[in-house]
Amino acid sequence: MNISPNQLNIEQMWELYNLLKLGVGDNNQYLIDEISGMLDKISPQNFRQSLLLLYNNFSEDKLNPVQILTMFILGLKMNEFFQFCDFVKALNGST
């Protein structure tokens, strides 16, 4: 499996944002706090779907939970997911 995350286009990024938006908004200082807060709020289905967006041929059977979580963090970081959230917030005037 390809370990490097996909470079998402704007449509994929919007899809990812909609999957994870329930968990966005704590504005934590550290990425790890932001992600752990997010994981508390999003459903397992949305978590899985976001990984499918971030990685081609993602299969959870071959990976342990730590690897999955690492991939999730890496995917969000490489695609600057929280910067996209700031962009959307700036557009609708919530910042």
Binding site: Q7, L8, N9, I10, E11, Q12, M13, W14, N18, N79, E80, Q83, F84, F87, V88, L91, N92, G93
Partner: protein, 211 residues
């Protein structure tokens, strides 16, 4: 490619109005709408290129191009475009892209210009002319309204008629003057300790005049 395309002149009236309408749609789309569709549509109009050439680009490039396009949009400092606190109510007879039809109709009717000519007008010039047309129409309407009985209400108690002016658009109303700052002599200040913290901003708190 995007940067090269964007280095052109700022958009003329028709294109600017189209971009403004897409801007509104983009803002509305942040609430569960199709945000990518409208951003790509906006860029496609701004660049004059089909979005199939850039829709698959990394999202950061698209957002950068979007911001760059916004920065190239002409800055208009006319009263007609001043922001208002009033809630905008859409007319029942409104439709998508009406702004262009409305403005071009006003300009064509008053100046006799062709639609092609109007579409290529500089945005500030076109809006300034539209403002003058609206002012003209408003003042004429006010004149005829002032001649009608509907403009006056009779107060039985004072036995005097009161004139009720025709409402004006927000940008034609007198501007609020800044609150004047003045000092209060110490002798006029209230006796005792008055806690004004958090009630008014510090700059407006009474300050004693030193003699």
């Amino acid at each position: 490619m995007i940067l090269v395309r964007l280095r052109g002149n700022s958009p003329r009236l028709k294109k600017w109005l189209e971009l403004e309408s897409y801007k509104e749609k983009i803002i509305k789309a942040t609430d569960n709408g199709d945000l990518p569709f409208w951003i790509l549509k906006f860029l496609s109009v701004a660049l004059g290129v089909s979005d199939k050439y850039f829709s698959q680009a990394n999202w950061k490039k698209i957002v950068s191009a979007f911001y760059l396009t916004l920065s190239l949009s002409p800055k208009i400092d006319l009263p007609i475009v001043s922001p208002s606190d009033e809630k905008h109510k859409e007319d029942d007879w409104s439709y998508d892209g009406r702004a262009w039809h409305l403005y071009s109709h006003m300009l064509a009717k008053n100046y006799g210009w062709t639609l092609e000519y109007i579409s290529q007008l500089r945005v500030r010039e076109a809006l300034a002319k539209i403002e003058e047309i609206i002012v003209d129409e408003q003042l004429e309407r006010e004149f005829y309204y002032g001649l009608s009985e509907a403009a006056y209400t009779y107060d039985k108690k004072s036995k005097v008629s009161k004139f009720n002016p025709l409402p004006r658009p927000h940008w034609m109303r007198p501007r609020m003057k800044e609150i004047q700052k003045f000092s209060i002599p110490t002798s006029m200040l209230p006796v005792g300790v008055v806690n004004m913290q958090g009630i008014v901003p510090d700059e407006y708190l009474p300050k004693p005049i030193k003699h």
